[in-house]
């Protein structure tokens, strides 16, 4: 129903005038049947265009105009003959029938389009809600979408045992009536709608919708029951995601525990086993060993004691790193000097190793804890020795712009991409290490020590032609403050 004089009414009037003119022409041409039919077509068109009321007005007007102005006797209104009654009845009956039919059709079409837009809206909500990975994101998403639909806010209450928990804040609500009472407290209980969130495994909680108007004033509310079902689905999904993440974390920690157990049992028990067995053989009166074998066993015992000592040191280093090692006793040191110390330390254990040094001529100074960095360099060299297939290991120390750079390069088989991601993890051992020596802690310790001194550690592998691995350390360069500037006058 249109209250104003709008283009719709204008069109109806034009239609009426045109029909009247047509009827008049037909009447003049002495074709009364055509005249009536033209008016009828006019009424039908108005009914189609504007519905039953407009059609009835048009029908009355048409009856009057036809009877009074067009049909004989002109300027006289009277329904005395059947011929005069027929157009009146025909116009009004046509207007009523056509108008009603059109109205129904239009209602159905309107309903269909409303249903379609509701479905589209639910689909949008569903789509947005399914993207949420945390329950608090569900509320945020709803607050962005629902206000356009006459819902000013949504509050979700998750059921946990006998009380509710608000997602996000984690606020615990002990009183089961609280969601209802909150609406009362805010004085808008009649604008609140509380719906249960039913999940597959039982009630998940409640959703309280606050409407912008009173419920009775809203002829078209979004389908809140369906929305509640979608919310429940999204919450369940979030809970499942949480459980999956928890299970993964659990599995990871189990794997680490497992690695720790097997690594410690292997690396501690092996030397102890060797020492106990060797000492047992030496002390047993039943076992008569040649002198040379006795010496070998004694040497083995000493060697395994060193191994135990090294491993204990490594475990202590790991402990330091895990406790959040921060390098306090730093000083300006020359990386070349620390490298030379590390090489000397390695040579006492492995005299046969060949190390090629490529040092800058000038000092390469960094501000770091010298013993940590020396240990890190030693670990890198020892690692290159283990994986380097007994080839020459290169050690480079140079200045690169604002950075001090130290590289250790071996000529081994290289590391594949999967191992590259894991090589700095605790207890990680590459599977191409022929002699299975080592605890899998060396690179982890090197990384921890270097980073605690503000440095960075990277790996490049293969270096060239599918072979070799290069570990690169970078530290902020320290300006040389130990020597006074050179005298320019000389």
């Amino acid at each position: 129903m249109r209250k104003n004089f709008s283009p719709g009414w204008l069109l109806d009037c034009i239609l009426f005038v045109v029909a009247t003119a047509g009827t008049h022409l037909a009447q003049v041409a002495d074709r009364p049947i055509t005249a009536v039919l033209v008016y009828l077509v006019g009424v039908i068109l108005i009914a189609v265009h504007s519905g039953v009321y407009a059609a009835l007005i048009a029908a009355f007007a048409a009856s009057f105009v036809y009877n009074f102005l067009l049909s004989e006797p002109v300027f006289e209104f009277g329904v005395t003959t059947v011929d005069e009654a027929v157009p009146l009845i025909a116009f009004n009956a046509t207007a009523l029938i056509t108008g009603t039919l059109v109205g129904r059709l239009r209602d159905t079409a309107n309903k269909a389009s409303r249903a379609q837009s509701e479905t589209a809206f639910l689909l949008t909500i569903s789509d947005r809600l399914q993207r949420a990975v945390k329950v608090e994101e569900i509320e945020t998403t709803l607050r962005q979408i629902l206000p356009t639909q006459g819902v000013s806010s949504v509050h979700i209450y998750l059921a946990q045992g006998d009380f509710y928990v608000r997602p996000g804040s984690g606020e615990v609500i002990m009183d089961r009536l609280a969601p209802l009472m909150e609406g009362v407290a805010q004085g808008d209980a009649e604008k609140s709608l509380i719906l249960e969130l039913a999940g597959a495994r039982g009630t998940l909680g409640l959703a309280r919708f606050r409407l912008t108007d009173l419920i009775e004033d809203r002829p078209r509310l979004p389908d809140l029951k369906s929305i509640s079902a979608l919310i429940a689905l999204a919450i369940e999904r979030c809970i499942l995601l949480d459980e999956v993440a928890e299970n993964r974390a659990q599995a990871r920690s189990e794997t680490l525990k497992d690695t720790l157990l097997s690594s410690v049992s292997h690396d501690l028990r092996t030397p102890i086993t060797v020492i106990e067995a060797a000492a047992g053989a030496l002390v047993s009166p039943k076992i008569r060993l040649p002198e040379a074998e006795r010496v070998t066993l004694l040497e083995t015992i000493i060697e395994q004691c060193h191994r135990l000592d090294r491993y204990t040191g490594e475990l202590l280093n790991v402990g330091q790193i895990q406790a959040g090692l921060t390098s306090t006793s730093t000083q300006v040191v020359d990386l070349r000097e620390l490298s030379t110390l590390a090489i000397r330390q390695l040579r006492t254990l492995h005299p046969d190793i060949t190390i090629e040094r490529q040092y800058d001529e000038d000092p390469v100074l960094v501000d770091a804890n010298p013993s940590l960095i020396e240990q890190a360099i030693f670990n890198l060299l020892d690692n290159a020795r283990k994986y380097g297939l007994n080839q020459t290991v290169s050690l480079g120390v140079r200045t690169d712009g604002e950075l001090a750079e130290l590289t250790v390069t071996d000529q081994g088989r290289g590391i594949d991409d999967r191992d590259k991601k894991r090589m700095f993890e605790r207890f990680f051992k590459g599977n191409h290490n022929g002699n299975h020596e080592g605890s899998g802690l060396g690179l982890y310790i090197a990384k921890g020590f270097v980073e605690s001194c503000g440095g960075q550690i990277d790996v490049v592998s293969p270096v060239e032609e599918g072979r070799g691995t290069r570990i690169e350390l970078r530290f902020p360069l320290c300006k040389d403050r130990s020597h006074p500037p050179e005298d320019q006058s000389r």
Binding site: T270, E276, I287
Partner: protein, 230 residues
């Protein structure tokens, strides 16, 4: 005896090799599973000392190969001390196990049990087992401890017989349950009660057993080694 040592730790092999050689055993070395399998293909082996934690395979998976392809006895050497690992290895046919670290004397004793069993190939069909302490006749079901007869109920005897047949070696709970109840899974409490009854009859101090020893989480071991007769 020809002994194959399978261990990824060269230092363990370096220590065991001279000792076993000095005791006139012939030692073959392998540091991983593939080397071990190549070794048994090339030569006959009587005993394998098998470390379970090998770099290229789970040691337990090799046991059936050692048994079927080389008819070798297997003593498992384990660093992880996990009961489940040991039970699995024993169920797959290993004769015995020893935890790292081990005393040399203890290892040699275990090896001697295997060696003795090997020399008594006829022992499998034997009906009489004897030692200084015990005399067991499986046909007449007579048991004598220090020459004194010991009376056992049929179930006690069945369990005791399983221990006697593997005297000196560990027998898993599963095997004892099969011996006593013909099924591998019965309430562990039953087995414990019968072991307690056997200890009452054989041990001087049942609370501190010296003959029927508990291998925690794995099974039981008859400490006395008996020799089959006839």
């Amino acid at each position: 005896m020809k002994i194959l040592i399978v261990d990824d730790e060269p230092s363990i092999i370096r220590t065991l090799n001279p000792v076993l050689t000095a005791l006139s055993h012939q030692v073959i070395e392998a540091t991983d599973a593939s080397e071990a399998l190549r070794a048994i293909d090339k030569t006959s082996v009587d005993l394998v000392l098998l470390d379970l934690g090998l770099p290229d395979a789970d040691g337990a998976d090799l046991i059936s190969a050692f048994k079927s392809r080389a008819q070798a006895s297997v003593i498992v050497v384990s660093a992880r001390h996990l009961e489940a690992d040991k039970v699995r290895a024993l169920d797959r046919g290993a004769e015995d196990y020893i935890d790292k670290p081990f005393g040399m004397e203890e290892l040699l004793a275990r090896i001697r049990v295997v060696e003795r069993r090997l020399n008594e190939a006829s022992g499998k069909d034997a009906a009489v087992f004897t030692s200084d302490l015990l005399h067991v006749d499986l046909r007449t079901r007579q048991v004598r401890l220090m020459d004194e007869p010991v009376h056992l109920s049929p179930k006690e005897f069945a369990i005791f017989e399983a221990l006697v047949r593997s005297s000196g070696q560990v027998v898993t709970q599963r095997r004892l349950m099969i011996a006593g109840w013909n099924e591998p899974v019965v309430d562990g409490q039953y087995l414990r009660s019968y072991i307690a009854m056997l200890r009452d009859k054989f041990e001087e101090d049942p609370s501190d057993p010296e003959l029927i020893l508990t291998e925690s989480g794995v099974g039981y071991r008859l400490a006395e080694t008996l020799t089959p007769v006839g």
